[in-house]
């Protein structure tokens, strides 16, 4: 039995050994600094969905930011609809893992630096960012606004009454 299963395990090990480095998640820095090495290959890329999910018919675009840079992902609209939240001031966007073909100058999209996603997985759901109001800023505003207003109106009063102008 062991003799029969052994070669199978060996084959699986060999496939994993050669394939897994190609499919390991690549960073945006690596793609930007060394694009030729990955051009036309299948890669994994993970990042936060930012800004807008832009559906265009059966496909669409989303930009994923991995902390260093953002890369454009072209994916089927059905896959893009898995993204519920894109990052902005009030939100951290969904963290998305895509697997697809990277292109340094995509022939389908007039030379775009992009990834054509074959699959899209939500690794972590985004959330609303709670931004507590800074008390120091409130105090500063309470002090500064009346000073600025007083100086402004004093100047207006002076110009009207001393010069009769506006």
């Amino acid at each position: 039995m062991i003799r029969k299963v052994g070669p199978l395990w060996l084959a699986v090990f060999i496939v994993m050994f050669f394939v897994s480095p190609v499919l390991a998640a690549v960073s945006s820095t690596e793609l930007i600094e060394n694009p030729q090495a990955y051009d036309g290959t299948s890669i994994q890329f993970q990042g936060e969905a930012i800004g807008d999910v832009m559906e265009r018919g059966a496909f669409g675009w989303v930009n994923l930011h991995d902390g260093s840079d953002a890369i454009g992902i072209w994916a089927p609209a059905a896959e893009l609809r898995k993204i519920q939240r894109a990052g902005d001031y009030n939100h951290i966007g969904d963290t998305v893992l895509v697997e697809g073909v990277f292109r340094l100058a995509c022939p389908e999209h007039s030379g775009e630096f992009d990834i054509h996603a074959e699959s899209l997985t939500i690794v972590e759901r985004g959330h609303r960012v709670v931004r507590p109001i800074d008390t120091g800023k409130v105090v500063a505003a309470i002090v500064l606004v009346p000073i600025a207003a007083a100086l402004f109106f004093a100047e207006r009063y002076r110009r009207r009454h001393l010069f009769g102008g506006s």
Binding site: D52, H65, G72, A105, G111, R131, I133, A141, L151
Partner: protein, 500 residues
């Protein structure tokens, strides 16, 4: 002999600088409203504090420095560079309070970059910036593009006799109409029409490419201000790459070109003088420059073998070239692309195009096509003088709103400003290279800063030393004001120390 400026001169300069600071303070209330509408309470406070500081400081200086004396020519020239520095300082306060800058110097860098319509940025995590702060970044471009000092002081003074000096100081001395106040009003009205039309077109474009109508309201005015005023900031960190859209690129391309054309030419066209479009020597120079540089860029890109079709060549090559030439700084390729992929010839062409710049009397930076045309005509004239017999009378003419004779004064002026720009480009490059950056990258970044372009090389701006940030701030400031008023300010400072 140098004459030491009197205390009253300093007071007049300080008084009018204070007036401008008040104006900057009031302008901060616009992004505050944007934040209020979007319920961004932290940014509301940032703008309230920033506006209060600017308004209070401006009023205090105008109370303290009030003299009752009118501003003279020399004061007008001095007020401009001082006012730009003051605008940078006070404009940076809400940026710094927003927490997206590592230091106040970084915030000032961005504000100067905005006001000078450069587009280089040191902001961190732009994709999570508030709507209000993002609007302020783009508004600084719009204000700077129109000429902050002229806009403010013509609005406030309503007709100061020394506005002419201010416009010279701000490199906006070309009179479209006989009265400079009317000229400023024409530019404002004209820009407003463009703003409405351009924003509407970009909004429709944004909706068309899958952005929600509400979010499109955020993208459209910001991108318009950055395109038309050739500023180059964008609401998201990937510049125009973010939109992945030929339609959006197609919409921004004419806006960049429109902003880089002399406003005087528009006035001529609106007045029914359509022939000017075909006669204008500066416009011909611009067209020739674009044609030649695109031919070279296209050859370089073709040789690199990156893009396989014409659409790619136009969306990446032509767009990038127009962005560089108009000094906008929008990009449809990642910053490494030009130095690493397009090859030395492509890089050199983009660099030279950035350094040359588009039209005077526009929002574009660089040496300008007008000066290039004057210098080229002077060369041709000189060659003709050598070839023809000494008794022959040789003159050169050019068409710029009317027929003009090429004079020695014009040629000298064009040469001097051209040399000043080249000196700025080289000085910035030497400083960056001395800090360990490659000479090519250092030169590219220096031309980008000194020509108020905004494209980046491989130099990681977020990590550069403070001394280099100050160098780029100085280059942006000098390039935007075209050196004259800043050199005059230096002379003024020397007189204050050494004069009698």
């Amino acid at each position: 002999m140098l004459f030491r400026p009197r205390l009253i001169d300093l007071k007049i300069i300080g008084f009018y600088t204070g007036k401008l600071v008040i104006g900057v303070g009031f302008l901060m209330l616009i992004p505050m409203v944007v934040s209020l509408v979007n319920r961004e309470w932290g940014p509301v406070l940032d703008f309230l504090i920033g506006a209060s500081i600017a308004i209070a400081a401006g009023h205090l200086s105008s109370i303290w420095l009030r003299t009752g004396k009118e501003m003279g020519w020399i004061h007008g020239i001095m007020v401009v560079p001082m006012a730009w520095l003051a605008a940078m300082f006070f404009g940076a306060v809400p940026h710094y309070l927003g927490g997206h800058f590592a230091s106040f110097l970084d915030a000032m860098f961005d504000t100067m970059s905005g006001f000078t319509t450069t587009g280089l940025t040191l902001i961190r995590d732009l994709d999570h910036l508030s709507y209000g702060h993002n609007f302020w970044r783009h508004l600084t471009i719009f204000i700077g593009g129109q000429g902050i000092v002229i806009v403010m002081l013509t609005l406030m003074a309503g007709g100061a006799s020394s506005v002419w000096a201010l416009s010279v100081g701000e490199a906006r001395e070309e009179k479209i109409l006989p009265n400079l106040i009317h000229t400023a009003r024409f530019i404002r009205r004209f820009s407003l029409i463009y703003f409405i039309a351009g924003t509407a077109a970009l909004w429709l474009g944004a909706v068309q490419i899958g952005i929600s109508p509400l979010r499109a309201l955020f993208h459209a005015p910001n991108v318009f201000m950055a395109a038309f005023d050739t500023g180059g900031f964008t609401p998201q960190s990937q510049s125009i790459v973010y939109y992945h859209s030929p339609l959006f690129e197609f919409l921004t391309l004419p806006l960049m070109l429109a902003g880089a054309i002399n406003f005087g030419l528009y006035y001529a066209l609106f007045s029914g003088n359509r022939r000017e479009l075909f006669k204008n020597s500066e416009l011909k120079t611009m067209t020739a420059t674009i044609f030649v540089s695109f031919t070279i860029t296209a050859a370089a890109i073709a040789a690199a073998g990156v893009f396989g079709d014409t659409a790619s060549l136009f969306r990446r090559g032509f767009y990038q070239l127009i962005s560089a030439y108009t000094s906008t700084g929008f990009t449809t390729v990642y910053s490494f692309h030009i130095p690493d992929i397009w090859g030395a010839l492509g890089l050199l062409t983009i660099m030279v195009t950035m350094g040359l710049g588009a039209s005077i009397g526009s929002t574009a930076g660089g040496i300008k096509a007008y000066r290039l045309m004057i210098i080229l005509k002077a060369f041709v004239l000189e060659i003709r003088r050598v070839i023809l017999p000494p008794s022959a009378v040789t003159v050169a003419k050019y068409h710029h709103l009317k027929k003009n004779l090429l004079t020695e004064k014009l040629v000298l002026g064009a040469f001097l400003i051209g040399i000043a720009y080249i000196a700025s480009y080289l000085a910035g490059a030497v400083i960056a290279a001395s800090m360990g950056y490659s000479l090519v990258d250092a030169l590219f970044q220096s031309v980008s800063a000194g020509g108020n372009i905004g494209l980046s090389s491989r130099i990681p701006l977020l990590d550069i030393p403070s001394a280099l940030k100050i160098t780029y701030i100085t280059q942006m400031w000098m390039g935007r004001l075209e050196f004259v008023s800043i050199l005059a300010l230096i002379g003024f400072a020397i007189s204050a120390v050494r004069g009698k």
